[in-house]
Amino acid sequence: MTMTTNREATVGSVTRTTSRRGPELLAQLEKYALAVLFAVLCLFFTVYGQTAETFPTLANIRNVLGSQSVVAVAALASILPLTCGKFDLSVGAMIGLSSIVTGSAAATHQLPLVTAVCLGVLSGAVVGLLNGWLVAYRDVNALIATLGTSTVVAGLISLYTENQVLTTGIPEALTDVGSGLWLGVPRTLWALVLISALVYYLLRHTPYGRYLASVGSSPTSARLVGLDVSRMVLSSFVLSGALCGIAGVLLLARAGTANPLVGPGFTLPALSAAFLGATAIKPGTFNVVGTLLGVLFVAFSVNGLVLAGAADWVEPTFNGVALLVAVAVSPAISQRRAGKA
C-alpha cells in the first residue's frame, strides 16, 4: 500500500514539474522572440547577395541609427500614456509643431538657441496638457481627443507656415548635433540613449511609473488604493508631449530644415514600435527595451528591403503590418498572462 502511494505521489510530482516547465520555456521564447527575429533578419541581409555589400557597413548602420532616434523618442513618448491605458495619436503632430516652433524661433525671430529649444519642448507639453485635460477631466475617448488635437495642430502649423519649408537660418550648433558623431556614434543616438534611460528609470524605478501601470491595470482599483487617477492620466500626456517636443528638436537638428508636413508621419511608426515592444522583454507590458527593439526591428527591416531594391511602398506597408501583427498578438498575451484566457 505504502509503495503504491509513494509511486503515485512521485508520478504526480513529475508530471507537475514537466507541465510547469512547458509554459516557462514558452514564456522565455515569447520574451526574446522579437530579439531572435531581429538577429535572424540582420543575418539574412548580411549574407543575402543584393544587400551583403551595403547592409553590414558601418556607414549604413550609423545612418539608420541616426535617423531612427526621432521615431524612437516618439515611441518612448507614446508608451507613457499607453502604460496607463490611453492612446496618444498626436505624437507626430507634436513633433512637427516642436520642430516648427524651434526652427522659427531661432531662425525667423532670432531667439537664442536655448530659448528656442525650450519653446519647442514647451509647445509639445502644452498640446499634451490639452490632450490630458480632455481625456482625464472631460472624459473624452483618448483616440478621438488626440486625433482631434493633432488635426488642429496640423491646421495651425499650416496657417503659420503657409506650408513653406523653413530652410535658412537654423543655427549650426543645432545641425551639428544632428549630423555629427561623438565617440563614433551619431549624436542624436546619444540623445536617444539618455532619454531611454530617463523613461526606463521613470517607469521602473519611481513610484510614478508604478502608479501609471496600476492605473492602466485597473483605474477603479487604483482610485481605491488612493491614487489620483485623473492626475496620473493628465501627467502622462504632458510628459508624452514634452518628449515629443524633444523629438521635434532632434528632427530639426537632423534635417536642418523645419518641414511643416513631416510630423504626422511619425505617429504610426511610433505606435508600431510601442506595440511590437509590448510583445517582447516584458510581454504584455509597454517597456523601454522592447520598444527600442521594436524601432530597430522595423528600421533595419525596411532598410534591408530598400537596399534589396524595394521601392517607397515598403516603409508604410511594413510599418502598418508590424502594427497590426503586434496589436493582434498583444491582447492575447496580456490576457493570458493576467489569467483571463
Binding site: 528609470y201 496600476s214 485597473s218 498572462r337 493576467a338 489569467g339
Partner: protein, 515 residues
C-alpha cells in the same frame, strides 16, 4: 387593494412537486404554488429560501428535477420539459428588477423592438403605425407619456411600467396571462415605488394576475391578496394577506416569533472609541450613527440596497457626505478622497475584488505594495529587493499560493487574490479596516484564513467594520452588529443575540416594529 373578486377555483398558474438540485444540494423541495386568476400573489423568502430558483424554473431558465408539473392557463407540462418558449406561449410574462429598456430609443421603439416594427412597402418601418400602436398600448396601461419621448428621460418608475407594458402589450384582455414581477422596486427610491404601486393596483383592479416578488414587506401588505412564503427551499405556507402584520410576515420568513427579536440595546462598551459617526447623510445613507472601538469587529447587516456598501464608501472618502459629523480619535474627520482616508489610517477591501481591488496584470508583489509604494522609494529609486523580500514574507505569512511574488495577480484563485488584497491593507496596521463581502467567491479554507488574520489584526488594536450578506458569518465574526435598513441604523445586536435568524428578521423589520 384587492382585485376583482376572483373565482376561487379559477387557478391560472399551478405548480406541483417542483424541486431543483444543484450538484447534490437541494435548493428547492417539492414546492407548490397556485395563483388564482386576477389576484396579486406575493412570493416571499429570505436569501437562499429558493425563491429565485422557483422564478427561474417558471421562466424555464433552469431545468427542474423530474417529477414536478407546471400548468399555466391550461397548458400543462412536466416541469423538466418547461422552456422559455413554452412559458411565453402559455402567457407568463417576466419583468425583472432592472427593466431591460433601451434608454437611447424612444418609447415607441422600445415597445416595437421585441415584437417587430410595423412595415410599409419595401420593408421600411411604418412609423405612423408604430407610433399609433404605441399610443394605444400606453393608453391601455394608463401611462401618460408620449410615444416619442426618449426612454432615458423617463423617471425610473415609468421605465419599469414601460417594461411591463411591453411584456403585456399583445395580451388580449387583462384576464389573460400572468405577470411575474421580480423585485421591481429594489432599485427605486420611495416616491417612485409609490407611483409604481399605484399603477400596479390599477392593473390588479382591471383583473391582471400578478406574481409579486419583493423584500419590502410594507409593499406586500399594501398590494397583495395572498402570499406564499418559502424557507430553506420549501414552501412554508400560502395564505390570505388581509389582516396580517409585518411582524407576522417576518415570523413566517424567519420561522420564529417576533417577541424574541427585539434586541437589547447596549450603551458604551467602555472601550477606547476610534470612530464616531453622527447623522451621516451620503448617497443611500439617510442619517447613520455609529461608534467603533479599538479592537472591535463591528458587523453591518442589512439587505441589498440598505446602504451597507455606501456607508463604507462614505467613510473611505469615495462617496461625498452631504451632512453629518465624523470623528476619528476625537478629531474631526472629513475624507475628501480615498487617499485622505488612507492617510488617516483607513483601509478598504471592496466588494468587487476583480474590478475594484485587484491589479490583474500586475505581479503579486506589486499588488501587495499598492498602498505602500512610497516606503520603497529611497536614494532616488524604488528598492525592488527590499520590496521583494517584504512581499515574500507576506506571501508566506498569509499562505498565498502559488508562493511566488512574480506571478500575475489575475492568475491566482479567488481566495488567494483576496488574501493579497487583505495583506495589502493589514501590512499598514490600519486604524480602521473596512471589509465589504470579504469572503465572496472564496473557498472554505481561505475563508478561515482570512478571518484568522482579521482576528489577529483586531487583537493588535485595529477596529474592523464588516459588511457581509452571510449572516452566519456575521454571527461568527462580529462582536457587535448594526442592522441597516433603508439608509438608517434600525437595530444594534450584541453578544449571544448575534444570530443569523435574528439578523434576518431585523433586516426585514421596519422601524415602527423595532421602536
Amino acid at each position: 387593494m384587492t382585485g376583482v373578486a376572483a373565482d376561487v377555483d379559477d387557478v391560472v398558474l399551478l405548480t406541483r412537486g417542483l424541486s431543483k438540485t444543484f450538484a447534490g444540494t437541494t435548493v428547492l423541495r417539492d414546492a407548490s404554488l397556485d395563483v388564482r386568476r386576477g389576484e396579486v400573489h406575493a412570493l416571499l423568502g429570505g436569501n437562499g429560501s429558493g425563491k429565485s430558483t422557483l422564478i427561474k424554473l417558471l421562466a424555464g431558465v433552469y431545468d427542474a428535477d423530474p417529477g414536478g408539473t407546471i400548468e399555466v392557463q391550461g397548458v400543462r407540462a412536466d416541469a423538466g420539459e418547461w422552456s422559455p418558449t413554452l412559458a411565453r406561449s402559455a402567457g407568463l410574462h417576466f419583468v425583472h428588477q432592472d427593466p431591460a429598456v433601451f434608454g437611447s430609443l424612444t418609447v415607441a421603439e422600445n415597445l416595437a423592438i421585441g415584437r417587430g416594427f410595423a412595415r410599409a412597402t419595401g420593408g421600411r418601418i411604418d412609423w405612423r403605425r408604430t407610433r399609433r400602436h404605441a399610443a394605444e398600448v400606453l393608453k391601455r396601461f394608463s401611462l401618460d407619456i408620449s410615444p416619442d419621448s426618449q426612454v432615458s428621460t423617463l423617471r425610473p418608475a415609468e421605465r419599469t411600467m414601460l417594461a411591463i407594458a411591453r411584456a403585456l402589450q399583445d395580451q388580449d384582455g387583462a384576464h389573460d396571462g400572468v405577470l411575474v414581477l421580480d423585485e421591481p422596486t429594489a432599485s427605486l427610491p420611495d416616491w417612485e415605488v409609490d407611483i409604481l404601486l399605484g399603477a400596479l393596483r390599477k392593473f390588479a383592479a382591471a383583473g391582471q394576475t400578478i406574481v409579486y416578488v419583493s423584500h419590502r414587506l410594507s409593499e406586500i401588505l399594501e398590494i397583495a391578496d395572498r402570499v406564499t412564503v418559502l424557507r430553506d427551499g420549501a414552501q412554508v405556507v400560502t395564505r390570505e394577506v388581509a389582516g396580517m402584520t409585518e411582524g407576522q410576515l417576518v415570523e413566517l420568513i424567519a420561522g420564529r416569533s417576533l417577541d424574541r427579536m427585539i434586541p437589547a440595546r447596549v450603551g458604551d462598551i467602555g472601550k477606547e472609541r476610534v470612530l464616531s459617526v453622527r447623522g451621516l447623510v451620503a448617497g443611500p445613507l439617510r442619517g447613520v450613527d455609529l461608534d467603533l472601538h479599538r479592537g472591535e469587529i463591528l458587523g453591518i447587516a442589512g439587505l441589498l440596497g440598505s446602504g451597507r456598501s455606501g456607508l463604507l464608501r462614505a467613510l473611505f472618502g469615495d462617496l461625498p457626505a452631504t451632512e453629518g459629523d465624523i470623528r476619528l480619535n476625537g478629531a474631526p474627520y472629513e475624507p475628501s478622497s480615498p487617499a485622505a482616508a488612507i492617510r488617516a489610517g483607513f483601509g478598504l477591501v471592496p466588494e468587487d475584488r476583480g474590478a475594484e481591488a485587484l491589479f490583474a496584470s500586475q505581479s503579486v508583489r506589486e499588488n501587495l505594495s499598492a498602498a505602500v509604494v512610497p516606503r520603497y522609494w529611497s536614494a532616488g529609486r524604488l528598492q525592488h529587493r527590499r520590496e521583494r523580500a517584504d512581499a515574500r514574507g507576506l506571501i508566506a505569512g498569509f499562505g498565498v499560493k502559488p508562493a511566488s511574488d512574480a506571478a500575475l495577480a489575475g492568475t491566482l484563485s479567488g481566495g488567494n487574490q483576496q488574501k493579497i488584497v487583505l495583506a495589502r491593507w493589514l501590512r499598514r496596521d490600519p486604524l480602521v479596516l473596512m471589509l465589504d463581502e470579504p469572503t465572496q467567491g472564496v473557498d472554505v479554507q481561505a475563508r478561515a484564513d482570512i478571518y484568522a488574520h482579521v482576528r489577529r489584526a483586531v487583537e493588535a488594536g485595529t477596529a474592523v467594520l464588516l459588511v457581509t450578506s452571510d449572516f452566519e458569518e456575521l454571527a461568527l465574526a462580529a462582536d457587535r452588529v448594526l442592522v441597516l435598513r433603508e439608509g438608517r441604523v434600525c437595530a444594534e445586536v450584541t453578544g449571544a443575540d448575534i444570530e443569523p435568524h435574528r439578523l434576518t428578521e431585523l433586516s426585514y423589520l421596519s422601524e415602527e416594529n423595532v421602536a
